[in-house]
Symmetry: C2
């Protein structure tokens, strides 16, 4: 992987790509996850590879939603584990939520490697999918979750796209906070709060917002949530994507 | 990989993704190639996943350029081999051009697996990179090519992005025909002809155009090439990408 020359105009994007490729080599990211990462790269490129005001508004509402939750859970997939493990752990501590491993293409060995990776990055507890608790509306093996985690959660943070699961959770009455670079996706459109940004920028921002709002009153947090308009955020993000920055 | 349900709204796109993942499992596609495929998926999605008039114009000019060439060569990378091996072979026969294996992240075993794969798909001859011939302007191991292939070619068909190589070949005075879903890329902007389309649709179209133009006079082919405006094609493609279709 080390053969990307520094003279390459897309050096930083290529280094992040190296990190996700390393995730595959460690057994935590799936091959399909690499393709999904590529989709994100293209969209991020069109957005100018920076955090826009619509993403800041969403990150603030997301932090408020997670802080107000009674049983928040942070779902982790193979891409999030490869790219932002330490920030996921920090966010879990900031909003008092456990991490739960939940991947698209089921693999016990990958689930175990992810758990190990998250523990190495400072996680106190990592919940695993079980056969004891199932979500409705999902027609394949992504339905299995932990009985004390996503199964009982009122707010689930899903840091990368999974349209089916987001839709299923919403139908079951849960609030879902997502990070998704595609403002047109089902994930973004069905989510309670969609942060349209690269996960490597969105996670540190979300941790910062959670720290800043840690001492806010519940009334103030409810106000932030009530004023948040996800449809407007997605419309702004789509306009930016279409208008372009280069 | 067989766990994508038919009910999934992006079933066809997911099946193509399965083909590229199979390419990795066969040892012909690189992990970085999977990420590149994902970038293409996102751009194709924004373009409505269909072949637009600007791509048809480019495919016609591309076929004319290849038919007029004295020494055309078709460069094949790991993604093209996984997705369109049979069509690359057909195109080679239609325009009387050899295939040459030329990959971004060097790997002898991958080069050999690609060669085998192309021969299995009907190729008569597959040129391999050697240490005997080098391109100018490339600062790493992508400079090595075959002395009777790309090294001497006047027209090189590069079916998937590689901005550095495209630029180097153009600086060396060669004509380069590319397929690239990103109309803003250096590849597309430095190419002689850029077909902005998914390679799985562009290759069959290009083969068809080559067959249709096979009996055209050189004068007619030169006319087609002279009238082609790559900058206009890219402007139309960008407008379509920005405007969107969904």
């Amino acid at each position: 992987m080390g053969d990307t020359p520094k003279s390459h105009p897309r050096y930083l994007s290529l280094k992040t790509r190296d990190a996700i490729v390393a995730g595959v080599e460690k057994g935590i990211t799936s091959l399909h996850g690499l393709v999904a990462h590529g989709r994100g790269e293209a969209l991020d490129y069109l957005l100018g590879e920076r955090t826009h005001p619509f993403a800041r508004r969403a990150a603030r509402a997301a932090a408020a939603t997670l802080l107000l939750a009674e049983r928040p859970v942070l779902s982790v997939n193979g891409n999030a584990a490869a790219l932002v493990a330490a920030d996921m752990v920090r966010l879990g501590k900031a909003v008092d939520a456990p991490l739960e491993v939940n991947i698209f293409h089921t693999s016990k060995s990958r689930e175990r490697a992810m758990r190990r990776h998250l523990l190495e990055h400072g996680a106190d507890q990592v919940l695993m999918p079980t056969r004891k608790a199932e979500l409705d509306y999902l027609d394949h093996n992504r339905r299995f979750v932990h009985p004390d985690g996503i199964f009982k959660a009122d707010v689930i943070f899903v840091p990368l796209e999974d349209g089916d699961r987001c839709e299923a959770l919403r139908k079951m009455g849960r609030d879902v906070v997502v990070v998704d670079l595609n403002p047109l996706s089902r994930t973004a459109r069905t989510a309670t709060v969609a942060i349209v940004d690269n996960v490597v920028r969105a996670l540190p921002l979300l941790v910062q917002e959670a720290h800043e709002l840690a001492k806010a009153t519940p009334r103030r947090l409810r106000q932030l949530v009530a004023r948040y308009d996800n449809a407007k955020v997605l419309a702004d993000a789509e306009a930016r994507l279409r208008r372009g920055t280069r």
